[in-house]
Symmetry: C2
Subunit: 299 residues, 2 copies
């Protein structure tokens, strides 16, 4: 199972205080040291909209270039793609939103326009030798429109797939999904598009994130997003906790006998370190509770 570390991007983008570039780079360095091989390092969006990501180029210039480590940058349009390509990313992650209201607020454009942009972004990324991945946001529920139906998700996935991404991620952006929905939606994605890798992105806003991760593994994803410390909120649910934590997800996968190649102790340390410069206790629990020495691979 590939874990994609999204702490430097999704984990930090809603932090009020600007995090110094060197701290972001250290977060990436710690992730690499703990064994992470896919890292969403930053977001190439308008600095006026997301000031925390204004140093995207500086972050990418400073991250350790290690064999086998792939850096991804989030992009929302061709301007972002230009910047990501110039900065030397290995992957671009493009976001499509499953509902019109959220699409207008997040992307400033209707879903149709976002899909049209995606075709061009995907084609240009392929041409540049950079892997295009796509994330379908609010794929399990929308803070404005409520329930998001599986049928609608499948239709949007078909449209996204038509542009030929190497991977499609279903994101529970506001942390409302439950395992049965994951089983259904990921199952459909795998069935309809077996040639495209499946990934999921869960927030633990209502304590369903780790159960959802288990369901996603069982449904056949090859990658899961997570953030060190469990950082990351949602601008529309300020009190909510963030992404599933890389260290806690790793503990869970280890217990399940799912290979991941990560070092739990280093991750737990990195999570605790993150709390020190954020000045807050991180949502991750492994750093507090400690790893358990004798969990065996029972699956």
């Amino acid at each position: 199972m590939e874990i994609v570390e999204v702490g430097p991007r999704d984990g930090l983008q809603n932090e009020d205080g600007l995090v110094p570039t060197r701290t972001k780079v250290e977060l990436v360095q710690r992730a690499v040291a703990a064994g992470l091989r896919r890292i969403e390092a930053t977001s190439f969006v308008h600095p006026g909209r997301v000031p925390q990501m204004a140093d995207a180029e500086q972050v990418m210039a400073a991250v350790p270039r290690v064999d086998g480590v792939s850096y991804s940058g989030l992009v929302l349009n061709e301007r972002g793609l230009d910047r990501a390509l110039d900065a030397g990313v290995d992957e671009v992650n493009y976001v499509v939103v499953a509902t019109e209201t959220f699409s207008q607020r997040n992307q400033g454009a209707p879903v149709e326009e976002v899909l049209a942009r995606w075709e061009r972004v995907a084609a240009r990324a392929h041409a540049a030798g950079v892997r295009p991945t796509a994330t379908l946001a609010v794929a399990f529920g929308c803070p404005f429109e409520g329930e998001v139906r599986a049928e609608g998700v499948a239709t949007l996935v078909d449209r996204i797939a038509a542009a030929g991404p190497v991977e499609i991620s279903l994101a529970d952006t506001i942390g409302v999904g439950v395992p049965s929905q994951v089983t259904e939606r990921v199952g459909r994605l795998r069935e309809d598009h077996p040639e495209i890798a499946a990934r999921c992105h869960f927030h633990n806003t209502r304590n369903t994130g780790y159960a959802n991760a288990v369901a996603a593994v069982e449904a056949g994803v090859s990658a899961l997003d997570a953030s060190i410390g469990g950082l990351g909120g949602c601008p529309f649910a300020p009190a909510a906790t963030g992404n599933v934590a890389t260290e806690d997800l790793t503990y869970l996968l280890t217990g399940l006998g799912v290979l991941h190649g990560l070092d739990q102790e280093l991750l737990a340390e990195a999570g605790t370190w993150t709390g020190t410069w954020l000045g807050a206790q991180v949502p991750a629990l492994l750093g507090r509770a400690g790893t358990f020495p004798a969990v065996s691979a029972v699956r």
Copy 2:
């Protein structure tokens, strides 16, 4: 699915400050108002060992006696049973510990002696018209002895079952278990003793508690323990969070289409109220994040 509210007992027993009896009773009242029908109200243990539970008789005298609401008291020996019967409990919950070291520390007796006591407790409870249930503690791992093997659990379950309890609960006392272990251990319990109801007790110490709850539901438990607010620590892991939270578990089960009869909004309110008198943010997330209006029963 029956949810057993254990907040008044397991949720509070490790709190440093003594919680007033009237606050405990209000916690029970709020649980009943939210639809809970099984409540572990207190523990009849030596007040010198667990001062927080010294008011067991007063709590039982004050809880609302509502048709269909069953109160349980935790007991460790016949002296506790005497007190529980005098106090008018509907169920007694007896604890057997899966490892010798934890048994000595928690019960002050070896496992064999604890099992011998259990036979007498179960027989006397049945004779008194009170339902005996048994909990096997550290059934997924022990802070002193590490891994606890499924085979050992099954052997102890056989011994416990021989005394004729109405229900056996497998407890992950220190929150180290993972879903595959739950599937295996609960599956074995159901297979070996189909005439005895199965229950599970999970702590969310390492963020595996809710995923474990899903696995337990799928493996055929008829009841799950939970505590309002997610209260409850473990004396051997002080920084760890507590039981799975009643409100968050309810959110999850609702999404899965599992009937439970509980009112999410009242539970979330009760969890937030609990945080006010504890002077701390409770581990439960639903009170912070809010319920999501449009989760449908998709299973």
